[in-house]
């Protein structure tokens, strides 16, 4: 049985197609996923992301504990700021990608993926033992609602007195939104400007209702996981389980910049990762744009002009913004021309492009 989020009743009223995702019953789409995708690019979309995990690390050595537990340098993060980072196993394999918010000097919130947060909470608890810090998984107590898209700033402005213009990308602050206490963060997974609101589970429904009403004149639409996936793919953002896994290091994924060897002290994975930092990986994560209309999908082989398998697709979808199917794939170093994806037995030519596929106009 999938677990419902606090917004299940809202999704059912809206006629959403619900799907199991990482053990959660989540809205896949409310109507046409292409319309939802385009609403986020052109106006705004409203997402229920309550399946994500919220793990709090608190105490005098909370920052030091995270410096040891994660690959990033979190103890130097300013209160109110956030950082994208990863947790790896001792051999350097990625256990999850995370966003860490420093809420106060001695309080951090680690946001983990739905499929991974029980493991992340257990690892953090274990790794924090030697520090004066406490780890608490508060995922059950929180709902997460996101407003993403060019009109998200204006919509939030209708509902809060918080200084939204002073809230930078990858920053978060406590705020009152529609009369509810929220941690309001300028983060997202769509390639657009946007906000994520962490609220008490019981506040999710009234907050959703207030955002829906305030967003109506701006073209705000509820958007499901299907649109979220195509939006993040266009933005070239990795998805755990597709582009990231325990079999890959951050360097394999082209994200070696998140590993901060310059921080003091040891951290889990340092010994395994340090020798890799100057070694070019044998495979590279690239973008593919199909010349035909068939869609390269997760697990399909990438083949060279002479038919040899030279890679594998990690994510693929039709792209609304490009009008052609796009994909991310791990591809061996070598010529990047003449490549094709084997789509159920037939070779479909692809162009190799730099990521991301889509970049919003500033």
């Amino acid at each position: 049985m999938s677990r419902p989020t606090p917004l299940r009743g809202v999704h059912e009223t809206l006629g959403a197609t619900l799907t199991d995702f990482a053990g959660w019953l989540m809205p896949l789409r409310y109507g046409s996923e292409s319309t939802e995708h385009n609403a986020v690019r052109q106006a705004a979309g409203l997402f229920d992301l309550s399946h994500m995990g919220e793990i709090f690390v608190t105490g005098p050595q909370a920052g030091e504990a995270l410096d040891y537990a994660l690959v990033g340098h979190l103890s130097v993060l300013e209160p109110g700021r956030a950082r994208y980072t990863m947790i790896v196993d001792p051999s350097g394999g990625v256990l999850d990608d995370l966003i860490v918010y420093r809420l106060a000097d001695e309080e951090f919130m680690v946001v983990a993926n739905a499929s991974n947060y029980p493991r992340v909470a257990a690892e953090l608890t274990e790794r924090a033992k030697a520090f004066d810090a406490a780890v608490e998984d508060r995922s059950e107590q929180y709902a997460l609602v996101a407003v993403q898209g060019p009109h998200s700033r204006a919509i939030l402005g209708e509902l809060t007195d918080a200084d939204l213009d002073g809230l930078k990308y990858y920053a978060g602050l406590p705020a009152t939104v529609a009369g509810r206490e929220a941690l309001l963060a300028r983060t997202g997974y769509t390639g657009e400007d946007g906000f994520e609101l962490f609220v008490a589970a019981g506040d999710a429904e009234p907050l959703w209702a207030a955002l829906t009403e305030a967003g109506e004149p701006y073209g705000l639409r509820p958007a499901g996981l299907s649109a979220r996936d195509t939006l993040r793919l266009e933005a070239g953002m990795p998805l755990y389980g597709n582009e990231l896994s325990a079999d890959l290091t951050p360097f394999d994924a082209g994200l070696g910049r998140v590993v901060r060897f310059d921080k003091p002290g040891d951290f889990v994975g340092r010994a395994a990762l340090e020798p890799l930092k100057d070694v070019p990986p044998s495979r590279r994560l690239v973008g593919l744009v199909a010349t035909g209309r068939r869609v390269p999908r997760h697990g399909y082989p990438v083949v060279s002009a002479d038919g040899a398998v030279v890679g594998e697709v990690t994510s693929g979808a039709p792209s609304q913004s490009l009008g052609r199917p796009i994909a991310m794939a791990y591809v061996d170093e070598g010529p990047s021309t003449g490549l094709a994806v084997d789509i159920r037995g037939s070779r479909e030519p692809v162009d190799v492009v730099e990521l991301p596929f889509y970049r919003r106009k500033k």
Binding site: T17, L28, R29, S32, E33, S34, S226, D229, T230, R293, R294, V295, R297, A317, P318, P325, R344
Partner: protein
């Protein structure tokens, strides 16, 4: 809930078939129930005109944002016409599943006994939802 017209026949693979009662050339499409389950259809591959097919053959595919499914021949026979409009604009499968979204026409050879009635298909889909 999507509609299931009374005057069509159906398959377990969520195809509809019209023309059973009035002749040898049958029109085949996918049901509104299937189109709704797939989401926005972005690509349709139809069989070649002139191809001879047997019941159950995979003769094409329909691809949506999240998935791809085979299209199966509901009956045996020769493909006599395909819908170029749906190839050019696959969203017709979503917007008009039983009309402009038809996929191909087949000249029936053999029988068409294994098809479901509207009532049977309704029972099938209500069991799935």
């Amino acid at each position: 809930m999507s509609s299931i017209p009374d005057d069509l026949h159906y398959t377990k693979e969520h195809e509809w078939i019209s023309g059973i009662d009035d002749g040898l050339t049958l029109t085949v499409g996918i049901t509104a129930y299937a189109a709704e389950a797939l989401g926005d259809v972005v690509y349709v591959q139809v069989p070649e005109v002139g191809a001879t097919v047997s019941p159950g053959d995979a003769v094409g595919e329909v691809e949506s944002t999240k998935s791809v499914s085979d299209i199966f021949a509901p009956v045996g026979g020769e493909i006599v016409e395909v819908n170029q409009a749906v190839v050019d604009d696959p969203s017709l499968v979503n917007s008009d599943s039983y009309g402009e979204g038809w996929l191909f026409r087949v000249r029936l050879e053999g029988d068409a006994d294994d098809l479901l009635s509207a009532e049977e298909y309704t029972a099938l889909t209500s069991g799935e939802s």
